[in-house]
Amino acid sequence: MERPLSPTYDVVIIGGGVVGCAVLRELSRYDLRLLLLERESDLAEGISKGNSGVIHAGFNVPPRSLKARTNVAGLKLVYELASTLGVPHRKTGKLVVALADEDKPRLEELKAQGDRSGVPGLEIVDEAAIRRLEPLARGRWALWSPHTGIVSPYELTIALAECAAQNGAEVRLEAPVESVRVGNGLFRLATPTGEFAARRVVNCAGLFSDEVARLAGIDDFRIFPYRGEYLITDKDCGLRLAMPVYPVPPRDDPGLGIHITPTLEGNILLGPSAEPVGDKRDLATTREVAARLKAEAARLMPEIARVPFIHSYTGIRPKLFDPSGGDRFGDFIVEESKRKPGWISLAGIESPGLTAAPALAEMVVAMLGARMDLRLKSDFIPVRPHRKRFAALDDDERAGRVAADPGWGEMVCRCEHVTRAEVVAALRNPFGARTLDAVKRRTRCGMGRCQGGFCAPRIVEILQDEGVPVDRITKRGGGSRLFYGRLKG
């Protein structure tokens, strides 16, 4: 049977991570028919959920590299973007600490590198200044970066997509691209739910960008997955870390070294490690690495040794260098295929990709604009519908909300104080993401210290009220079902 023909899109973006969603939102300023295809059951299910959530200033990468240019350009955009979209973020500043005098030259190298790239405000500071800036940190010397900050990476991703959707862009979840046909100036992208024709394709498929490119006959790069494990402390651990604290980047570490980072809610992240793995979806955590994270974090912050952890997770970096190879850099790739004009690939977008995303999006728009007519829409809405969390409301606002809608009076999550109204709103997101993890990322249900023990059964009830059959309730889509039907009883 012939599949129904879909309309032809001006641009199809493959991949709903922060980069894909930033590109989608940037393009939604223009009079274009847009579609984003995401293979998982929600946005931000890949690299964009498993990172430190740091807005980087740009001193860690070599000047003139694409990483450095997009990082520094992105830094100028990302705070305002987060504000516009109502995404939690904070300019915290950051310390890179040298524990011994002999490491001070490394800090000076980093500073020189940052200065050359135009990173603002970098300073080498001494022990007394470290104590003043971050009393929990230890170190002889530090590089102080006042413009570094933190943001919730998955909230930024979702907000970008919501804004784009509001401006007419379409998003399809659980739509992995399985084959690509090229002809008549169109790319025909086949997914399990149908075929989509695109005049231009922007491949933002993250870890899978090489595999997606190969579907179109483009075999210019290969992605090597590097696993990074993290630990998260309880918010009530008694320690309030004000800013990210990094070690001097270890020479043998393909990442930035194991660091400690505050979250916006007051937890502390430890990590990440950096190990090459064979499987791009190998999100396991290990006993050995957890022990190493604690040991190394304790060098930066001795108090961490007596702190309880409530969660651990793993992120995978999409590196462009072979683990056995000599080159340890691997710059971002942002290029239009010479053999397949109209197909733009963004590959190897690891750190500082979160910060660079808005700049990368502008780059993509410029590349597309060079070869097609882009007309700005007069009715572009830069913000998105946004509601403050119940937990962040004052008493009068709370009373007002509950009076207007009793759903705000029904507490679902005890730990993070999330109401039924918020869970229902999350489930009615414009993309149809209806997994437990989708609710968690939008509401914080399950992120607290009971880790969903109390709220998961409640959310299961609400999911059914919202029309999701029991057998289709999943943790994160695919085969992650929670139940095998009902009991006889």
């Binding site: 009530d236 979806r281 999100l283 396991a284 955590t285 290990t286 006993r287 957890a290 309880p308 952890f309 409530i310 969660h311 651990s312 997770y313 008493d395 009068d396 709370r398 009373a399 909300r401 509950v402 009076a403 009793p406 759903g407 705000w408 009076g409 029904e410 507490m411 005890r414 730990c415 104080h417 109401t419 210290r449 009971c450 880790q451 969903g452 023990g453 109390f454 998961a456 059964p457 299961v460 009830e461 029991v470 999943t474 943790k475 994160r476 695919g478 085969g479 992650s480 079902r481 929670l482 139940f483 095998y484 039907g485 009902r486 009991l487 006889k488 009883g489």
Partner: protein, 416 residues
């Protein structure tokens, strides 16, 4: 502060499980006028409602009934009293001045109470707290969540289960899953002894030939989307896994029954002193916490072995709260009571100087036979109480009564 007016009451009880229901009754029976009972679930009874098995009420009602029946009896008594009941209402904040912020579908409001009884119960330790490495698939449940999903929502949570930890809920759920046709591959306990009650080992595991392995734990969870197997290993004396003893147990479900933690979020907000030994508040013989007029009982104070004891504590806390609300409890000087050898904790931790006839609850740190439990004065060495036990287990809450008046700090110890 809110613009709207603040309601008042004499005694506010937070939580309507076995302890909170009893506390509301205790407050009324001790003469409190306006008693408010706040429960976050839609029905009274708390966790009792999902405990459909028998074994409740032996001490309170002198017969064994199910959890829901136990809850119903207490709730009927509550209904006979002019107690204001709010269900589906959660207390979000408690100030040291005893102002509660309550949210429910009926509205968000502030209530100022002359006395407060904390009876919020406990929560379960999670996979992350015990740091089980591996993947993050669906199919990992805490035993209590699983009990909710199975007993209250009638859902089939898996086909082949492994249970880690030998807490009572895990043991009860092992049997429950077998009833529902789920294969229970085994119960693994890291300690060399069982954490739950002996009767549950007998009635829930042995009667159903469910294997129990002590000194073994889950060292890895496998499976990308849904649990596919767990790796189990023996542990050494330091509870560290022994290399080479790992074996893969195929299953699609892992239940965790690895301990309960008093849910003291509100106590923390009110700045109440908590004991690192119990996870609950530090209380005196009236069950008053470090915040004047705030009392604690049930599993939010310390983890109980049977619901009846939580109720008895509730009656006592409610009565104390009524006395405080009536202005009948002046502040007094206290002595400290601390655990000695083989004793994990003894409660109350504080005692008003000169008080006689107080009963202590305590738990031991490991199973022991033919022991003598001694309550001794720290300054004088005077023995205030002595009681022989043929056998004591960490899973059981024990009691010892001190008859003479006490004028010094005490130590409760256990000797073989």
């Amino acid at each position: 502060m809110m613009r709207q007016k603040i309601d008042t009451c004499d005694v506010a009880v937070i939580g309507a499980g076995p302890a909170g229901l009893a506390a509301a009754l205790g407050a009324r029976r001790a003469g409190a006028g306006k008693v408010l009972l706040v429960e976050r679930e839609r029905t009274l009874g708390g966790i009792l409602n999902q405990c459909v098995h028998d074994g409740f009420g032996l001490f309170l009602y002198k017969e064994t009934i199910s959890g829901p029946e136990y809850a119903e009896r207490l709730a009927e008594d509550v209904a006979r009293e002019p107690i204001k009941i709010e269900t589906g209402a959660m207390v979000l904040d408690l100030s040291p001045a005893r102002v509660l912020k309550i949210n429910s579908r009926a509205g968000y409001r502030l209530v100022e109470a002359r006395a407060v009884v904390l009876a919020m119960g406990c929560r379960e330790r999670t996979r992350e707290m015990i740091e089980i490495p591996g993947t993050r698939p669906a199919g990992v449940f805490t035993a209590g969540s699983a009990q909710n999903l199975v007993n209250l929502q009638n859902l089939r949570i898996g086909n082949q289960a492994v249970i880690l930890g030998s807490g009572d809920i895990g043991l009860i759920m092992a049997r429950r899953l077998v009833f529902e046709g789920v294969a229970v591959k085994g119960v693994f306990e890291i300690l060399p002894w069982v954490s739950g009650l002996e009767r549950n080992v007998r009635q829930c595991l042995m009667d159903f030939a469910i294997p129990l392995e002590l000194g073994a734990t889950v060292v890895e969870i496998r499976g990308r989307d849904r649990v596919e197997s767990v790796v189990v290993a023996k542990v050494d004396d330091t509870l560290a896994p022994v290399a080479g003893t790992e074996r893969v147990v195929p299953c699609d479900t892992l239940l965790l029954s690895v301990g309960l933690i008093p849910e003291n979020e509100l106590a923390k907000r009110a700045g109440i002193e908590l004991s690192p030994l119990t996870g609950g508040a530090v209380v005196d013989e009236s069950l008053m916490t470090s915040a004047a007029g705030v009392f604690s009982c049930g599993n939010v104070l310390h983890i109980h072995d049977v619901a009846d004891w939580a109720s008895f504590e509730g009656f006592a806390a409610g009565a104390s709260a009524a006395r405080f609300a009536a202005g009948e409890m002046p502040a007094r000087e206290t002595v400290r009571v601390s655990p000695g050898p083989h004793v994990k904790y003894a409660l109350p931790q504080l005692l008003t100087r000169g008080t006689a006839g107080v009963e202590w609850s305590f738990r031991v740190t490991c199973p022991l036979r033919n022991v003598q439990v001694v309550v001794k004065g720290k300054a004088t060495g005077k023995v205030y109480a002595r009681k022989k036990f043929p056998r004591v287990l960490p899973s059981e809450l024990q009691k010892i009564k001190v008859r003479p008046a006490v004028e010094e700090d005490l130590e409760v110890s256990c000797h073989e």
